[in-house]
């Protein structure tokens, strides 16, 4: 095991500044109103830095910078832009440990995840879009002998992006990489729970970017997010969060007639068919791990497999072993590389999860393990820790229908294939799903029948850059990852050209 020193103590690999301003036009700019807000770490609950509290004036300043930068950036060659993305990736990789520990301290997640998942995935994402933009081709269609339709990809211009707090850096890069690869300038607002780690990253890449291509304004949703989302100066808004804010942002976008992409979460089913237990082998062990994936990132993942559906023939045995596997999840200091589950990201999140555990109990769901907050003692007593929790109940219960966004899974039994699909699809959402079967035909059919944008078959929680990610039903609009993402940050220019010298013949 290794224990990283806490930021602010001797030997830490990362040093946060005592204060972060907005990053606008390539430099740090104090907030117009001069106000800052405290930023606590969920690991101990203690404040470790303060962050600019942005308002409409700061958003306008960032839009000025982005508008100034967008035309030139949009005209750079794809080779130049790809080089910038690749250099950013290299720089982040060279500083991986520092950025990963900053991210753990910021969000509360275990550093084994930031070290091997969050930050490496962010690096890979930049490299993927560096490649994708160079490989992208427009089109030409020969309409007739003398007429050709050319299709060019052109950037949108200035775009707004509002980032969630569950993967502060990875979600920012998911949105930034395709946007800047496609030649846009960005005004980005990080979540107010996790406003600082993105600045640790920007510190190491800022000099690689022309001023104004990426602008970061921190602050609260109502004070900074709203003026950004409702601005008539952006050509597109991207948001990850929940449904009411998603609708509100869509309403603002409709007033300005601009496109939105929304990723609004889910209540993802993880379906285990009887044949999973045909043998007690490596695959069976993998399926048990697949069940336990609900605890990854403390359950604060939009695709958390928070409904486990297990077929009747293996139900008791599989669930018993899955509960044991869950009880082996090591909860502890997120800066310890042996820790598997860390702290929930904020106090209100912690309270909300506990209120769901309460409503689950009231509805008659049975707690098979967990169900309580966890006090880890010492400095960690001030942090926000919850035991991995397994509920057994019925799909109509609220704990089966609402995204708890904590380490809580709700388990139900199904009888046959049709029953499994019926329960899996009985949800408002359709972001992720898991299917576990040794029978390729069953797995394929289930993958197609589940109404979700991402179905993992015989694996879970993998996020490669070139697999499209996004929701069916109320889980959102549009996709992230994959080269198709470039379409969300481009518009099509058609030039319809005549090569004929003759009049068209109308007049």
């Amino acid at each position: 095991m290794a224990m990283y020193a806490a930021p602010g103590t001797d030997g830490s690999v990362v040093t946060f500044k005592p204060r972060y301003d907005h990053f606008i036009g390539g430099e740090y700019v104090a907030p117009a109103k001069g106000q800052y807000f405290e930023n606590p770490t969920p690991i101990t609950g203690q404040t470790f830095t303060e962050v600019a509290r942005g308002t409409a004036d700061d958003i306008e300043k960032a839009l000025d910078a982005a508008e100034a930068a967008a035309p030139a950036w949009g005209r750079t060659s794809v080779g130049e832009r790809a080089n910038v993305l690749n250099k950013m990736a290299d720089r982040i990789e060279a500083n991986l440990e520092m950025i990963a520990i900053a991210e753990s301290w910021e969000n509360g997640k275990a550093c084994r995840e930031t070290l091997v998942a969050d930050i490496p995935l962010a690096i890979d994402h930049l490299r993927y879009f560096a490649g994708a933009i160079r490989a992208q081709e427009g089109g030409l269609s020969q309409i007739d002998n003398d007429t050709v339709a050319y299709h060019f990809h052109e950037p949108l211009g200035v775009v707004g992006q509002i980032i969630p707090w569950n993967f502060p850096i990875l979600m920012a890069i998911w949105k930034l990489a395709p946007a800047i690869a496609a030649g846009n300038a960005v005004v980005l607002k990080p979540a107010e729970q996790t406003p600082a780690s993105i600045h640790v990253l920007m510190d190491v890449v800022a000099d690689l970017l022309p001023a104004g291509v990426i602008n970061i304004v921190n602050g609260f949703g109502v004070e900074a997010g709203k003026p950004l989302a409702s601005s008539s100066r952006i050509r597109k808004i991207a948001f990850t969060g929940e449904t009411t804010t998603g609708r509100l942002i869509s309403q603002y976008a409709s007033e300005n007639l601009i496109p939105v992409t929304l990723e609004l979460g889910g209540k993802s089913p993880n379906v285990f068919f009887d044949d999973v237990a045909a043998q007690q082998d490596a695959f069976y062990d993998k399926a048990l791990e697949g069940f336990t994936m609900f605890a990854l990132n403390q359950g604060e993942v939009c695709t958390c497999p928070s409904r486990a559906l297990i077929q009747g023939g293996i139900y008791d045995e599989f669930l018993g072993q899955a509960v044991k596997r869950t009880e082996q999840v090591k909860q502890g200091n997120p800066l310890d590389t042996d820790t598997m589950i860390g702290a929930q990201a904020s106090n209100d999140q912690f309270e909300k999860i506990l209120s769901y555990i309460d409503i689950g109990r009231q509805e008659g769901a049975k707690i098979l393990t967990g169900g309580e907050k966890a006090d880890l003692g010492g400095d960690l007593s001030g942090g926000y820790y919850i035991q991995p929790t397994v509920f057994e109940g019925d799909n109509k219960m609220r704990v089966f229908q609402e995204e708890i966004f904590g380490p809580v899974v709700s388990v139900a039994r199904f009888t046959d294939y049709d029953d499994a699909m019926s329960i899996a699809n009985d949800t408002l959402y359709g972001l992720g799903a898991g299917v576990w079967s040794r029978d390729a035909n069953t797995a394929y059919r289930a993958g197609r029948d589940i109404q979700a944008g991402r179905v993992w078959v015989n694996n879970y929680h993998a996020y490669p850059a070139h697999a499209a990610f996004g929701g069916y039903k109320q889980s959102g609009i549009g996709r992230e990852n994959h080269k198709m993402m470039l379409d969300h940050y481009q518009q099509t220019k058609n030039i319809l050209q005549s090569y004929s010298d003759n009049a068209q013949g109308f007049f």
Partner: protein, 145 residues
């Protein structure tokens, strides 16, 4: 600033302000104390219950009319707050209501920093929902919306 609860024993029933709500939705004293202060800053307010990830399942509080209620929403009731002339409407999408209608909701407030555009976040607090199941008798009396 209103003192938000730090009591995380959520199994204790919350006390709503008597007469503050309706048969379906009510507010705690802490939330009732905060709402007039927020009204001073933002004008008349409304609630829309969110779903989905991140801060989903939390009630969002907006300047009244900022969020456009549509045909896909249900009105759960109006909250009567001492010190406010107009009651505060509480809404939810009808599809979500189908999964929530067997529970009574109480708007509470805790320390925190919810994202989204809800107006209380800059004050260092976050509205959350406490829920309890309706009894069979209550369900019969309430009927459907």
């Amino acid at each position: 600033m209103t003192e938000a609860t730090t009591d995380t024993d959520v199994t204790k029933p919350v006390t709503a302000v008597p007469g503050s709500g309706t048969a379906r939705v009510a507010v705690t004293p802490a939330a009732a104390e905060l709402l007039p202060k927020l009204t001073e800053i933002h004008g008349p307010l409304m609630f829309h219950q969110s779903g989905g990830c991140c801060d989903g399942s939390a009630p969002m509080c907006y300047p009244d009319g900022d969020f456009k209620i549509g045909g896909s929403d249900v009105h759960l009731g109006d909250l009567t707050i001492e010190g406010l002339e107009k009651p505060i409407g509480f809404y939810m999408s009808s599809s979500q209501y189908e999964y929530w209608k067997h529970t009574h909701l109480t708007v509470d407030v805790v320390k925190g920093r919810g994202s989204g555009f809800s107006v209380e976040a800059p004050e260092g607090v976050r509205f959350i929902i406490r829920s309890r199941l309706f009894t069979d008798d209550e369900m019969r009396e309430l009927g459907d919306l």
